[in-house]
């Protein structure tokens, strides 16, 4: 059943030009980051690490969380049109499958975004004249970024399914970015999804995930958030009447 729901979600996103959005924001962040890196090579001397600090700062701290918010709002957008909620909720599928299918689709799309970002980072480094090899930490940053991205998706999906407006969940997502940044500065970043992304992708400090204990804590907190938010969202969908 879940598989059918996932393919239905894929079908709904067909012709939505979602790929344009998925490409624009990483391209802008890499362009700005690479430009900044190129102009300040005298100060930024740690090659690939310095480049990551520049492109990652714009991408991981600001663009990626907002891109997640926009993607989730887009995935939930059709339901809010033409009384489609009535159709969706009367379909012979469990409510949990509807939510999980959306979350899976968001996860797949975010995986593509992360891979695309990596390709851009690699090309940006080569154009800037950096010699290989790439830092061994890059796969870890990307995977942890994706894990935190899925956690944020669960939250954004819950908001987008509840709020009919397209823009409001995106606005809340942006406010959460700054709230998360504040928590990161106060060194309690492990306890908020948006600051988990900052930590996981190593955008402000590339040494923050050194020990395996911290990695385990990172994954555990993400899983905990994912489960709690998903259960809450599914519970709400089951109990509350839809506004079609």
């Amino acid at each position: 059943m879940l598989k059918r729901c996932v393919s239905a979600e894929g079908l709904k996103l067909k012709h939505s030009h979602i790929w344009i959005l998925m490409m624009i924001l990483p391209v802008i962040s890499v362009l700005i980051g690479c430009g900044n890196f190129y102009m300040n090579q005298g100060v930024l001397r740690k090659e690939w690490y310095s480049l990551w600090s520049q492109v990652g700062l714009f991408y991981g701290e600001f663009f990626f969380p907002v891109l997640i918010a926009i993607l989730c709002a887009m995935i939930s957008r059709l339901e809010h049109f033409n009384k489609n909620w009535n159709l969706v909720m009367t379909a012979p599928v469990p409510v949990s499958s509807i939510y999980l299918a959306k979350l899976i689709v968001a996860g797949i799309l975010l995986l593509f975004v992360q891979l695309f970002f990596f390709v851009l980072y690699f090309i940006g480094g080569i154009i800037s004249g950096l010699a290989l090899p790439l830092p061994a930490e890059v796969p870890g940053w990307l995977i942890r970024g994706w894990i935190a991205g899925v956690t944020i998706s669960s939250l954004q999906l819950a908001l987008s399914l509840k709020i009919r407006s397209f823009a409001v969940p995106v606005g809340i997502g942006l406010c959460s970015v700054f709230f998360g940044l504040g928590l990161y500065v106060l060194k309690v970043g492990m306890f908020f999804p948006h600051s988990l992304l900052t930590i996981g992708m190593g955008v402000l400090s590339q040494e923050s995930m050194g020990s395996s204990g911290r990695q385990l804590l990172f994954i555990s907190v993400n899983l905990l958030y994912l489960i709690i938010i998903s259960l809450g969202a599914i519970h709400r969908m089951k109990k509350e009447d839809v506004t079609a």
Partner: protein
Amino acid sequence: MKEVILEFYKLRHKHLLLMITGFLGVEILWAFMAIAMSISRNPGAGGWEPLLLMLSSMNGLFIPILTAVCVSRICDMEHKGNTWKLLSSLSVKRSRLYFAKFVCAAGFLCYIFLLQTGAIWLFGSVNRFPQPVPFVLLFRSFMGSFLTSLVVAALQQWISLAVKNQAFALCLGMAGGFLGLAADLFPEGIRRIFIWSYFTGLSPVVQTYTGETMIFHIRKAVEILPLMGVAAVMGVLLFWLGNMHISYKDI
């Protein structure tokens, strides 16, 4: 006038004012925290100039996104309720409806900057800045930010009404926000193409470096006036193009 009142009437249950106040609160809180930390480290660092400059830079990031959200909400209700067709069948020109939506957005933006100016005044008074309240600087800062946001709103309204899917309008707002944030990294010629860079461009305060010392410099009004003229022309052009496109577009 009736059209404008009706636009506000349609938004009465949308909590738009509450949302933009909350959003602006995050920006103001962030800026004030940064300035307060700077003052606690170096008591001589406090003053109206750093505060105004800090908020101009933060406006470059926040206001494009806030404008995108605000304009998207004003325009999206016509897409959602399929009411643009209904409105077009009234004996009111579509250009007047377009103008009413713009005035409505401008009203919200004016509220944002009035609130921001009031908050700056309050923060400076509470922290007992040594200089008296610089009303002229506050007014010039208000005018610069408000003018830039109007141009951004003209662009956002065009996109929000032309493209049903609001993801594109919000994506543009997002990209604009980051161009506004990173604008000072670009050369002057390139920077001036992007309207989002005018939040810092029209700020009455700029910072310069003498060796390792940062100095805040107040620009004369005549230095900013040509740039304000460019922004105004861009705004009129964007509004006119958007109005023409939407008015003659087949629904």
